[in-house]
Symmetry: C2
Subunit: 297 residues, 2 copies
Amino acid sequence: MIKQLAIVGGTHGNEFTGIYLLQKWQKNQALIARSTFETETLFANAQAYQQNKRYIDHDLNRCFSHQDLADSSLDSIEQTRAKEINQLLGPKGNPRVDFIIDLHTTTTNMGPTLLITKKGKFYNQLAAYVKMHMPEAMISCDEDHKTNDEHHFLSTVAQDSVMVEVGPVPQSVLRHDVFEQSEQMTLLILDFIELHNKGEVPKLPETVDAYRYLESIKLPLTATGERAGMVHRDIQDKDFAKIEPGQVIFVTFDGEEITYQGDKAVYGSFINEAAYYDNNLAMSLLEKTTLSTTADD
Amino acid sequence: MIKQLAIVGGTHGNEFTGIYLLQKWQKNQALIARSTFETETLFANAQAYQQNKRYIDHDLNRCFSHQDLADSSLDSIEQTRAKEINQLLGPKGNPRVDFIIDLHTTTTNMGPTLLITKKGKFYNQLAAYVKMHMPEAMISCDEDHKTNDEHHFLSTVAQDSVMVEVGPVPQSVLRHDVFEQSEQMTLLILDFIELHNKGEVPKLPETVDAYRYLESIKLPLTATGERAGMVHRDIQDKDFAKIEPGQVIFVTFDGEEITYQGDKAVYGSFINEAAYYDNNLAMSLLEKTTLSTTADD
């Protein structure tokens, strides 16, 4: 039973959509109110928003492992804010809040994506419910091998959580379509939790298609670590499409094409995400999977 | 006769395309070499690039009016850099460099756009030449009522200049298509200047379609100046399309539609540009015009 839920926006300061959705819902709380649980909102990184940056010192959405939260020597702006948020919503391990929805956007063409970081029938049913009402929604799983405590995402302060990740939208921009898709997906999640709390989850499809994170790959780099190329036009904007071994995925600035070297077909997401340039990550690679709504997997 | 030309990139530190094109051309100078003039390159705002920001203190591309360049009390990072660039390429009024091509990108769907800030047959022929070889190119004029000396753009350090403005690409991202379009347009400008210097400009269409800047309009704001809405999906990505009086152009966060209040049809550009949020500008409004390649206009 979920009794207390938090919707978080502005975990990344230049992802405006969640920040403005929070403002909207704070003015009109009926939109996010449901009868079986309390909903609160949290603007996670207002300082980064003021500076129009993803983060100031550290990516806030990588600061929430149990170990880092317990380490008082980690005292950068975001590391300090993480400890505050852990007090406000957590503490992790024994949190006040049962469920967190963390709102994100991406510069990539992922469409409205539900990001799931934990296994279980509850999540599979949630995914199926969202996709039933929003067929364009994509389901992406990164259940990881870590326990919830080891996970570094903000949302994992609660025992249960999802991330809403919608694109394409440039950093520091509001797009009408992305705004509406983000709101629709969030409200569907609230609706599902309400139905789940009441024991009234409707009949759902037996399975739902999803993608599971495998690994991230880097942009072409020179021997000294400088960027030597970029994502090839053939896969630009082709998030969730198949990438075959030998397929062209990069092009150097001099026009030389570089192919995918894996030995089996995969699927891409976060293809050419602006925020990933810091680490020269080009994209995430995924495998296709199927989630069952009738059995835990 | 143009003898000395500078290609400038990174005037805005988070517009990566020009910065990486400069790197490419510095390694392979033959690509930008022409027989009748010298070509040099300049990375305008490396400090902002290091911080992954458009600018640090002030927009560098607004720092080049003659008056501001002469005012030693203006000593922010970009105001100081402007004076350095004025020494390197100028000084404005009697510049060492005859022509500047300044490379920009936009988050908006403007495609490859040639921005012209000065009137004259030379520019009209240049526009026609570029469009002849690159039919998807758009021509946008902002000749202003200012003299070149009063203009605040970096490129106006030289007596003659253009800006290459290509989108859509998020800030801090390289897109293969935008990279290639930016390179193609730049090389066409070099080719035209070469032909012009030689007196070998080929037969051109008599006229070329273009758009002329009229004014900028703001996002919907509350009485206290907070953003109250965003660009409506109906005109998002519709740069250079017609906007009729009474047409819906904005939507408030609560879903209320707001119409264009002008009394004649106009055209939009820079629709929902990320960099313009600082000033809450929603878009530029343009009128359609025709440039003659046979008579000065």
